[in-house]
Symmetry: D2
Subunit: 337 residues, 4 copies
């Protein structure tokens, strides 16, 4: 961390700052010029509250050199994290498809889709039970009953299941859920993240609509700081001025996250675009950019889906996409089964 | 609501759609041309799930004419909502200053600031007890103890207090809090909003960093749909590409929210800019644009504040700003005390 | 300027860098720690090409302390620039209204509007002759004939005129134009800026749709580096994810530009919002935030305007807005006539 | 096009609107309900100025069904456009690499890089002669001399060349240039586009930093409306709130542009990211998403490049990337030589 001081800093305040920094166990290197003084801080600066220093009268600017995350940082954990659920492996070269409907609707529906996506090669079943909807008047999901139906589908197909949690008080229903999803709108629901850090279940953490890559990693850090290192990062599109797509898939986030962190990175082309015919090209791009997996919406009858139908694939369409993705995934050296 | 169909829609699907829409109690008006058919839906369309219709194969586009919010809509409630806490009134021409430190630190600190902002004309004391911080290693607030200290300051000064809730399980500590704040990161924490809709306390709802004006009103609608109509809307800056300020104050949101809704609208120039010298000009602009109030960070010692110090005013600076704002507020016809 | 080097920089490359920086007349201050070395550069760093240094293998990060603009910088020119055209003064406390139609259509139209806005207190007449339109099939303006009509209106009313240039080859038509406007889409048309720097006419420079405040000042610097110091900066809204307004007025840009630069700053609430009923509140906010003037679209028949009608005011509406703005402008200490 | 009228529109104004629309050769279909009237316009609506209609008092909203571009529209030209320069083909399944330095510096440099990128498989040489730089104090390119050096490199290697034009008056130097580039900052320099529409040279049109996909196609339409149908579209990153990369590569733009238009689409991963280690994964993603080509910066000595060095590859790095891209390109069915 480098602290650039204002011209002619107050001597006493400077002395206080230096003493405080040293009290945090940091080593100080000072460079004084005619126009500026620079303090170089050496040591574990990840625990320093950067705002505190910026706020000081005598400080012009503070610049981090080290990233502010530790547990999620590849520098300290060079080897890829591999998430395992039963026989399913994700990360470290193991590629996975997560597929299923946006919302669980009926037992018949979820079991039908589960079998179809399994047949097409998906390793994990997704389905929304608790649904975050912009309008209080929209369908809010089946809730606990939705999870029960997912477990039926799991029993029939053997696929591990993933579903979204929206609030801490729902945690009681997630005992048999294999992977817990934190949605984009809850990426900075820090109380939820802290609590999930105390569980031992894998967490799929979706990037917030307007969150930076660093903020995503800091949210992963919240979970990991609690002791749960099984975090899967998910790029799902960010909010920009472009209106053709619902969101803008930030494809660069994939190689950046892979470089900065050892955690597996997956991509959600369905939510990123909101358009079913974009799912295949974006899925291909994600694999090419290095993604460890994909999460894709599949619905037996997209035209009648209770939510987000316009972006869902039919089982047949998913089968086609999966075939092409597996083919390309192999070309890129990914283990696809 | 207007539904624009694709060319040559499947007759059977069209018939199904028409029957379903009529079953929702809507009147249909159909226009068929050589290239397109348009369905005009008349009636209460606020309960229609727009995604459901968009998802249909035969639908090209759906366009709302009515806004999707009802309780927050000025069309149905033309008169300004006035929030009252004791003798404090906000909205309907009543202007209020909410002021105080970002974080409550000590009893001495909060009582000192409370008295200072009261002397300068503030009507409500703010102070953070539960703090949402990007990093798990940053100061997380004093929690329940912070609320206890705020209540001490309330007892000494008579100022009603406002503080932020981050999760439902914290609600037990808010019994004596006058106004509950929902922060930008929780604007779409729908479970929290639903629960707050069951309380009878005024809720200060901050706009999310990348939320649209309509999404803010839909979140207000979540609270109001539960029966609590005491919602205060707060514009606090949105995330854009500009990096000079922490966020970009969307000043247009003030007159737009005032036109679309009857709810009071306040502005937070401290968080919008993140820079203390911008607080005064942005506060003035907010009053000029029609804001019903301002929420401003004031700290006895900004240079040593435990969070967000760079944007805080000293009590003396706040006193200057308040004087100018009150003067201009009167020129704009606002009741300022 | 502060150059932060990577750990263990190559000694020879470091020596080359130091020699090169010294050859630019800069003084170097070096701080070496266990983890990083920092070079502090003292002297006139505005001529240093920051990309050149960033590109070096041994460099981690470069941080400017000084702004990269000089002529536009208030630090070097503390006093407000005042633009004078005949008796019209803009800047340094002198407030001006620029008003007129988006496009010049007929002599009758422009003369009628000119007289109306003059009567309401406008000091400068605007009108588009060369029109930048997104579609090649949209009305492209009357061109040189439009300027001729503006000069007729000037002859009749005595108002100085301002109109937009889109390309260098149009410059021949601007001999009698009082102020030349550079539109948002041309803010970084550097060849045009360079050429305008050789003229002695005031230039109204509009901020690009996605330009930062610093980029706007750098474009002003292009004009000023050529010798023309008569630049008026104009905030006209930036492109964000919010779709309610056409653009998002960045009101913070006003006090920031006033602090960083001595150049006059005006605001265009018509283009920023694209909605006529937002013009008044945004105009008020602009004055309150410190703007030196406003540029507002006024059309005799907004509902039949050949371009941008939806955002134009009628002469009567403009008269009302002007009255309120002048009243508030005086309250803020601005000279309004 | 669908025009949604306000409730109870003025009869006389409605009659005027209907007559005017019919006078444009459009067929009208009217649907009247209790709450709204909708006009469906059938015919060639691409020449209708949408703002004109939106501006009318009686109009609530106007919604295009047809895209506003014709010449660039795949609906009217289903077959892929193939750009040919000598033996080089781009589009219609023909994949091309465009490579070379950001700026032409010396004859030795450009000839060395030209040979190196040719050896690695590039089909076109790029090099900046006229350089758009944010600061007037930065290196502005060698200008006409730079083009002369590019022609030397072309003579030696046989590679066709591409370089950027910044202003109409530079056109005289482009006689022997094979492809003219319009940079992101000039994407809406409409006078330049019009003039280039009169030439018969292929134009590489880069997407503006904050331009929508539709605006890019409208700018292509400007060129094509002048008679020049040889336009290559280039996605090069858009401006968002994310600061890790210089811009955010909008990978979705590739399949969208390919679907909406018959024009070839290439991607610039160097400028999109501004980081050399991101060039390979983004190049791979672009190919996977359907791009017809790539434009990549290659410099013999990136660490000493006079501009944009941080994002340039060395010839050796480029050779590696090209090998992998060609391999994957073939897997995706692209003709790579």
């Amino acid at each position: 961390m480098v602290v650039i001081l204002k011209k002619n800093p107050n001597e006493k305040q400077l002395e206080n700052l230096k003493n405080w920094l040293r009290s945090l166990g940091l080593e100080l290197h000072i460079s004084s010029g005619a126009n500026q003084t620079v303090l170089g801080l050496v040591g574990d600066t990840s625990v320093v509250d950067i705002d505190l220093i910026k706020a000081l009268d005598i400080v012009e600017e503070v610049k981090r050199i080290q990233e502010p995350f530790k547990n999620a940082n590849r520098k300290f954990h060079p080897r890829d994290t591999v998430i395992e659920v039963g026989e399913m492996k994700l990360g470290g070269g193991n590629f996975q498809f997560i597929a299923g409907p946006c919302s669980v609707e009926t037992e018949e529906q979820i079991c039908y889709v589960a079998q179809a996506v399994k047949d097409a090669g998906a390793g994990i079943l997704r389905g929304g039970a608790f649904k975050p909807r912009t309008s209080p008047y929209s369908f809010q999901g089946l809730g606990a009953e939705g999870i029960r139906l997912l477990l039926e589908a799991k029993a029939k197909t053997g696929l591990p299941i993933i579903t979204e949690i929206m609030d801490l008080h729902q945690l009681e229903y997630f005992d048999d859920v294999d992977i817990i999803q934190v949605g984009a709108r809850n990426m900075q629901n820090f109380e939820l993240l802290k609590e999930l850090g105390k569980t031992d279940k894998p967490i799929l953490l979706k990037r917030g609509l307007s969150s930076t890559i660093e903020e995503l990693l800091m949210s992963a850090e919240y979970i990991m700081a609690g002791g749960n290192e099984k975090v899967i990062l998910c790029e799902r599109g960010i909010r920009t001025y472009e209106t053709f797509t619902r969101n803008t898939l930030d494809i660069s986030a994939v190689p950046i996250l892979k470089k900065l962190s050892h955690l597996p990175v997956i991509v959600d082309p369905s939510h990123a675009s909101g358009i079913s015919w974009l799912v295949e090209p974006l899925a291909m791009a994600a694999v090419a950019a290095g993604a460890d997996g994909l999460i894709i919406e599949v619905h037996n009858d997209p035209a009648r889906a209770l939510s987000d139908g316009a972006q869902s694939l039919t089982p047949d369409q998913f089968d086609q996409v999966a075939k092409r993705v597996f083919q390309i995934g192999k070309a890129f050296g990914r283990k696809v089964d």
